[in-house]
């Protein structure tokens, strides 16, 4: 078993967490999130055309007066992703763009993927994404409240907020696209971070009952050390799997796996350095557990 004095570092960790959290909030508020067409509406076309430059695609599209058009390389050479911000439901737009590209580009064009999301649907998708994340946070809060005491519940939920906000903050800073799969990633991060927190909390609760003389700082320290091997091994295996998706899983899964990798790192950090110190703030002791027991068994 390791014997690292984590609780001595809680103070610095708190400053770091608070700083990262605030920076993330500032970026999300002022720079905003880079929503993909799932949430903003618009048209996305992925095409493969060897010997075609992005500039010639831009030129063709410029002549069509489509408003804001974004053309970028996507994966291997000759693959491009075109994004058209479009207003209103227009059933004819996609065939027009396809025809114009096929007619005007010199080499053959293979349309690999076409997505079009109308403004109404994108607003609904964004709404259901926000509901899903909020609901999952609420469900976690409730589950921990049932299984543990309310102090643990608050601690874990603050850690979750910390993870979600900082992950989104990094996406905002790097201008990475937020789409449906990122929502899935965020929800999985919520699950993973919670999983990590629960393991440490479980041990804290067990040790609180075992060692009445130790204060919460020492108990937290002991519990983190006792579970540290597990925390690291599980993070490593999960990261191995995620890195494999990130490197080999193709362009479509890249954003998703990147968000997950961030989430696993931040989630592991937060279970140790955010969720545990909060118990100290609430002055949790073995008496907290006894009170709960009295309530249940009158």
């Amino acid at each position: 078993m390791t014997n690292i004095n984590f609780s001595a570092k809680f103070k610095y960790a708190n400053i770091l967490s608070l700083a990262l959290f605030s920076i993330s909030i500032i970026f999300i508020t002022f720079k905003g999130l880079n929503y993909g067409i799932d949430f903003k509406g618009g048209t996305l076309i992925e095409l493969r055309s060897n010997n075609t430059e992005a500039s010639s695609i831009r030129d063709v599209l410029k002549n069509m007066n489509l408003g804001d058009v974004n053309v970028k390389k996507f994966g291997q050479k000759g693959d491009y992703l075109i994004k058209v911000e479009q207003t209103g439901d227009n059933n004819k737009l996609i065939p027009e763009i396809k025809k114009s590209l096929s007619d005007n580009l010199t080499s053959e064009v293979n349309f690999r993927r076409v997505e079009n999301v109308g403004p109404k649907v994108s607003a609904e998708l964004l709404q259901s994404g926000v509901i899903a994340i909020s609901l999952s946070l609420a469900a976690m809060l409730f589950y921990i409240w049932v299984r543990f005491e309310w102090q643990f519940s608050i601690g874990s939920i603050i850690a979750l907020f910390h993870d979600v906000i900082i992950t989104l903050g990094i996406f905002s800073i790097l201008s990475l696209e937020i789409n449906l799969s990122i929502i899935a990633a965020v929800l999985t991060i919520v699950g993973y971070s919670m999983n990590d927190t629960v393991v440490i909390y479980d041990r804290i609760r067990e040790n609180l009952g075992k060692y009445h003389r130790l204060n919460i700082s020492d108990i937290a320290n002991l519990s983190i050390n006792e579970t540290l091997a597990r925390t690291i091994i599980t993070s490593v295996t999960t990261l191995l799997a995620l890195l494999s998706i990130f490197i080999l899983g193709g362009e479509i899964l890249r954003g998703f796996s990147f968000a997950m990798i961030l989430g696993v790192l931040i989630g592991t950090y937060s279970s140790i350095f955010v969720a545990s110190p909060i118990l100290k703030t609430f002055k949790v002791s073995y008496k907290t557990l006894e009170k709960e027991e009295e309530k249940i068994v009158p």
């Binding site: 293979n110 649907v121 609901l135 999960t238 080999l248």
Partner: protein
């Protein structure tokens, strides 16, 4: 925790083999299927088109409110209520009345009310009215009325969408209602949905109307296929409803593609009478408000067969006959969401998905072997069993595997070992304080149980919420992640525990390292 009765062992392994065997069904060749169960590939993996269509009931409401004008006027006339200033607005009718109280009595009477039928089950009226001033009222559809219009339009649209898609001959289309206004269409294997989109984008309301100067029913100024401006009577001689068949054809005389149609009995009568009475006049064939052609009526057509020509290409004639056969949509359909994946991108996604799955799997297996040696082997056996069970359950459920779904499986691989890691680490701790190795393993399993459950339930909650709120491919991720958690718990707590017990009990308290 390490003692298993023979019955328990039997149940555990039978259950495992029973579920795992289903994963083998996916290896069957399509020709000779032993058992009709298989994991379906999502549209993002096999290629295909997903369309979300929305009906636009605004026009329909306008049309329906207009159809109430005559019955309401009749009601007022029959009961001696004077009205004036009768106006037809977009979604209501406004009029001035001299006796609103009497109108109220009539309007809301329950007996044989043709204007505002009373539906007993729902206790609701189709129409409502409100007073604008002492004299003026507005009549509009009640919530119930709007719902009825919307629902019947949606049901009818789904039916017609199905007919049109079936007629095109796409394989295994999925057509489902989504919410109150939407129709979900999934067309696997379809590379280019433009033809289907254009077929679904047309309401295909066909009318036969006379070209006339007579103003009795009002006229529309329409432009013919040759660019002539024609006055077309609003009176509809016959509509597409009376068609029972339509086929593309080539006209023998000038080799032009045409659409020949067959009418039902009522249609033949109507058409026969109209063509007999109007020989020499021109008949406009109007589709969705545009003239397809306006030929001369040379002789009465009483056979119930006819032909439409109109400068078609053969493809256009084929599409028009398909539209006429399937019937008219009650309202135009708008594509509000479309996702099309080409077959080669799908193949690429499968390849990269499987590659990353295999690599991720091997990395995790090697790491576990390095960390836990012989017990790593047990964890790895559990992991393989886990994957077999996961695919087995997916097969039993005939779930749809998507690219994010594959990511979910890989993530399960990474997280599944967690249960065994928790247990093994706990056993390591117990071994330090406990003298008996068997006791240490036993209490390791017992003490880790709660933690393993707690830790996995949290992820399961996230997966369930994702399943409820996610759409399309993301749902696929939630399914694999969720099922993965359940199979993980089973393999860690039954299979791996049994394998561990075999090693520990056989070693008989000799020194076992973990």
């Amino acid at each position: 925790m390490l003692n298993f009765s023979k019955i328990n062992v039997l149940i555990i392994y039978l259950l495992f083999f029973f579920i795992a065997i289903f994963s083998a069904l996916n290896l069957q060749k399509d020709e000779n299927k032993f058992f009709e169960k298989k994991i379906n590939l999502g549209l993002d993996l096999q290629g295909g088109s997903y369309l979300l269509l929305e009906i636009n009931s605004d026009n329909l409401i306008e049309e329906k409110i207009q159809s109430k004008v005559i019955p309401i006027k009749k009601l007022l006339k029959d009961n001696g209520i004077n009205y004036n200033n009768f106006k037809i607005n977009k979604n209501n009718l406004s009029l001035n009345l001299d006796n609103i109280d009497k109108f109220d009595l009539l309007f809301n009477s329950r007996k044989e009310n043709l204007v505002n039928p009373y539906i007993d089950n729902y206790r609701s009226y189709e129409l409502e009215y409100k007073k604008i001033s002492n004299k003026q009222i507005e009549i509009f559809f009640s919530k119930f009325g709007l719902l009825t219009i919307n629902n019947s339009a949606l049901k009818q649209s789904i039916e017609i969408v199905r007919r049109r898609i079936d007629d095109v001959g796409t394989k295994e289309p999925t057509i489902l209602q989504r919410g109150e206004k939407r129709i979900l269409v999934e067309l696997p294997g379809l590379k280019d949905p433009e033809r289907i989109k254009s077929l679904l984008g047309k309401t295909a309301q066909l009318n036969f109307r006379l070209v006339t100067d007579n103003n009795e029913f009002g006229t529309d100024k329409l432009i013919s296929e040759n660019g002539e401006k024609l006055n077309v009577s609003k009176r509809i001689i016959m509509s597409g409803e009376n068609l029972i068949d339509a086929q593309p054809n080539i006209n023998n005389q000038n080799n032009e593609p045409t659409v020949s149609f067959t009418l039902d009995r009522l249609g033949s009568q109507k058409f026969g009478r109209a063509t007999t009475d109007n020989v020499g006049k021109r008949l406009a064939i109007v589709l969705d408000g545009e003239i397809v052609s306006a030929p001369n009526i040379n002789e009465p057509i009483t056979s119930g067969n006819g032909m439409i020509s109109g400068n078609f290409t053969f493809q256009e004639a084929t599409d028009l006959s398909l539209l006429l056969r399937s019937g008219a949509l009650p309202t135009p359909l708008i594509v509000v969401e479309e996702r099309t994946v080409g077959p080669d991108l799908g193949e690429d996604s499968i390849k990269s998905g499987i590659t990353s799955l295999i690599v991720g799997f091997i990395l995790v297996i090697l790491f576990m072997l390095y960390k836990y040696k012989i017990f790593g082997l047990i964890a790895n056996t559990a992991l393989i069993a886990n994957l077999l069970m996961l695919t087995g359950v997916l097969t039993i459920l005939e779930a749809t595997l998507t690219l994010p779904g594959i990511a979910g499986i890989i993530l399960t691989v990474g997280m599944a070992v967690d249960a065994n890691v928790l247990i093994f680490e706990r056993i390591r701790e117990e071994l330090k304080t406990e003298k008996s190795v068997i006791h240490a393993f036993d209490s390791g399993y017992t003490r880790a149980k709660i933690t393993v459950l707690d830790a996995n339930i949290t992820t399961l909650i996230a997966a369930i919420i994702l399943f409820a709120f996610g759409s399309g491919p993301v749902k696929g991720f939630a399914i694999t992640l969720g099922i993965g958690i359940v199979t993980t718990l089973f393999t860690a707590y039954f299979l791996a525990r049994h394998l561990t017990s075999l090693i520990v009990l056989n070693a008989k308290n000799k020194d076992i390292k973990i």
